[in-house]
């Protein structure tokens, strides 16, 4: 314990003297969170929305009026399409930023009190998807409110033949109209969190992973300088000292997380969800996983420069695939993001931000813990290659 603690203490002293590295590990993520978070929060551009209304029922005129309403023209420009296929084509070609199809049975289902959906086709520009969705959401809320009133008054609802038997009948108090996102699956592009929350989580994870690399760099540097051999020559010190070096790097990651979370919460108003314990656990698991990954990669390369390059590429690619740089990129990359550490760590952090159900948070933490355990285990197996001069 004495040797472990001594090594942790002196590792922290050493890190405290590397001011440029500390600045990079804490300052850069804060700058990125600020730039990207604010860019997406403020610059919602008007979206071109391709609309096909196949419904010929009683609500058609109301829907048409909605799309022509001057108040929404600030946010979107409507393009009329002749068919659902045309809507898809317009979105695919990029002529439209977003597509909406109102199904033929929309009026009848709504008036019978059954649930109904508009089909939505999000395009490639996420900020425009947000703009379109925000406008549709306002219509959706309005419609649900009216339907709730109708339900209360008993009109239309009571005349519905399937009101009490159909599976699709809305339960009291539940919204009967919603937009089904055909190509997506999540509620919105930033996954129920704001842009600044989204990027705060993404960059905290990315830089925690970079922080995890510092342990391996320290070990490799100490190996090449001979200090690790000197520690090895001290009776009974080696394993404890290596554990101390790794712990020192985890402490650095902890400090990094505190600075990023604290600063972003105070200065950028990022709502981290207020569950400090869960956030700390997520950061710890991410840093452990990052350390395990870095040790594994460090065992495959000969020099610290090679490790920095390789690890940098791996973390960058994982961040990209997981949507940390371009939100909602999962479809474009064929779901590859789910195979990255960042994806699961981001998911946990975002869930902590908006979810009240602890079971959902725990399931995410469980997956992250499993990933961290596997990477730490592989790292432990490969560790001798990193720390021993002639291994």
């Amino acid at each position: 314990m004495r040797i472990w603690w001594t090594t942790v203490y002196y590792e922290i002293i050493k890190y405290s003297k590397m001011r440029s590295m500390l600045l990079l590990l804490t300052g850069l993520p804060l700058v990125l969170i600020f730039l990207l978070g604010n860019a997406f929060n403020q610059e919602l551009k008007p979206a071109k929305v391709a609309v096909y209304i196949s419904d010929q029922g009683e609500l058609r005129s109301g829907i048409e009026s909605f799309w022509k309403d001057p108040s929404i023209q600030t946010y979107m420009e409507t393009l009329s399409a002749a068919s659902e296929t045309e809507v898809k084509d317009l979105v695919r070609e990029g002529t439209a930023d977003y597509g909406v199809v109102v199904p033929a049975d929309y009026s009848s289902r709504i008036l019978m009190g059954q649930s109904a959906e508009w089909k939505a086709y999000p395009g490639r520009y996420e900020e425009r998807n947000i703009a379109a969705r925000a406008v549709i959401d306002s219509y959706m809320s309005n419609t649900n409110l009216k339907l709730a009133a109708m339900e209360t008054l008993g009109a239309a609802y009571s005349s519905s033949p399937a009101a009490s038997s159909s599976d699709e009948t809305a339960r009291p108090g539940e919204a009967v109209f919603r937009v089904g996102n055909v190509s997506g699956g999540k509620e919105d592009v930033f996954k129920s969190v704001s842009a600044v929350q989204y990027y705060a989580a993404a960059y905290l994870i990315m830089f925690l992973l970079y922080g995890g690399m510092s342990a391996t760099l320290s070990l490799m540097n100490q190996r090449s300088r001979g200090t690790l051999q000197r520690i090895y020559a001290v009776p009974g010190a080696f394993r404890k000292a290596v554990a101390g070096i790794l712990t020192g790097a985890l402490a650095l990651a902890g400090l990094q997380a505190i600075v990023i979370i604290g600063f972003s919460a105070v200065v950028y108003d990022v709502d981290w969800g207020g569950r400090v314990g869960w956030i700390a656990l997520t950061c710890l698991l991410t840093a452990i996983a990052g350390t395990g990954l870095a040790v594994t990669l460090g065992s495959l390369v000969g020099s610290t420069k090679s490790l920095q390059t390789l690890f940098g590429i791996v973390v960058f690619v994982m961040t990209f695939l997981s949507g940390g740089m371009v939100p909602n990129i999962e479809q474009m990359v064929g779901g590859a993001g789910k195979y990255t550490l960042n994806y699961w760590a981001n998911e946990v952090l975002r869930t902590i931000m908006y979810e009240n159900d602890p079971s959902k948070i725990w399931s995410g933490i469980g997956i992250l813990a499993a990933i961290a355990f596997c990477l730490a285990l592989i790292g432990a197996v490969r560790l001798p290659k990193v720390v021993k001069k002639h291994a």
Binding site: R2, I3, T6, T7, Y10, I13, K14, K17, M18, S224, R225, G226, T227, Q229, R230, I231, Y232, A233, V234, P235, G236, A237, A241, K389, H390
Partner: protein, 314 residues
């Protein structure tokens, strides 16, 4: 009493024998020099002694403890000064020594005393608060030594501790080694600088290609060289006949002319007896003489004689 014993020690990398069945002893209180060119196996031998490398065969004992069976006991008795500057540039000189002292279990008042003692010993107490990045190469080498001696080891192993430093720092380090020995430590000192080994060590082992090719005191080793001496004649002009006559002299072992330097190098068994004859030959052929130099046998000569190679690449 033999403090360190090497017995049939072998180290292989793939099929290459880096250390080839090494067997020798080092007495308590000795300064033992391990001399050899780069790649001779000196550092590998040292690393096996310090428990940093596993050996493929044989055993090493220190103070009666086997490095194979009781590595912790052996490590307690050793202070190692590696060839690399194994210090932390980001920690002050005091923190460097304190860190390693704490690893050795020192604490409290004793820790402070020993750290001060080590820093004073290497002449860095005044600079204890400074970072090694502000030190000269020689000061860093001295800090490297301080980190190895604060726990007062019985055996101090120094692997090329003077590589790349100025003469003043070198002298300081050599004097430190003598002082450590006077204080009771047994020293193993490796180097490819023959002069350092000659100046410091009571006994010397010469290694080449993983083997110990010679061992003994400086005098014993010189005797092994067959007491050969070199006489170097700086002449005004060369003469083939004179060179031939010198070569044919019974006491002359070899005779070479360096035309560029206008020198004749003669290897003889006993210079006083043959010098007069050689001067006579030069005078007979009318060759003017500028200078005569007598080169006594040294370890370099011995190494050259035994391996056909020089200790250091020129």
């Amino acid at each position: 009493m033999n403090f360190v014993k090497f017995r049939d020690v072998v180290k292989k990398y793939d099929t290459t024998l880096t250390v080839n069945h090494l067997t020798f002893d080092i007495a308590e209180g000795e300064v033992f020099g391990l001399l050899g060119p780069n790649g001779a196996g000196k550092s590998t031998t040292i690393e096996m002694l310090a428990g940093l490398l596993e050996m493929n065969g044989g055993d090493i004992t220190v103070d009666g403890f086997s490095i194979r069976k009781q590595p912790l006991e052996v490590k307690k008795r050793i202070g190692i000064v590696p060839q690399e500057l194994a210090i932390y540039e980001g920690l002050s000189a005091r923190d460097n020594v304190t860190f390693f002292a704490r690893l050795y279990g020192l604490s409290g008042k004793l820790l402070k005393e020993r750290v001060d003692e080590a820093l004073r010993f290497v002449g860095l107490l005044e600079r204890a608060k400074d970072l090694p990045s502000t030190f000269s190469g020689g000061m860093k080498r001295r800090l490297n030594i301080a980190c190895a001696i604060m726990h007062r080891p019985k055996l101090i192993v120094m692997d090329e501790p003077t590589v790349g430093i100025d003469p003043q720092s070198r002298n300081h380090i050599l004097e430190s080694v003598r002082e450590l020995n006077r204080l009771g430590s047994t020293i193993i000192y490796t180097s490819h600088y023959m002069e350092e080994i000659e100046a410091l060590c009571s006994r010397i082992g010469i290694m080449d290609e993983g083997k110990l090719i010679a061992i003994g005191t400086k005098e014993q080793l010189k005797k092994q060289s067959g007491q050969e001496e070199r006489l170097v004649f700086e002449v005004e002009r060369s003469n083939a006949q004179a060179l031939s006559e010198m070569t044919e002299h019974l006491a002359v072992k070899r005779c070479e002319e360096q035309a560029e330097d206008k020198t004749i190098e003669v290897v003889v068994k006993d210079s006083p007896s043959v010098l007069q004859d050689l001067l006579f030959i030069l005078q007979k052929h009318g060759i003017g003489l500028r200078k005569i130099t007598r080169v006594e046998p040294n370890l370099e000569t011995l190494f050259l004689q035994m391996t056909g190679r020089k200790l250091r690449d020129e």
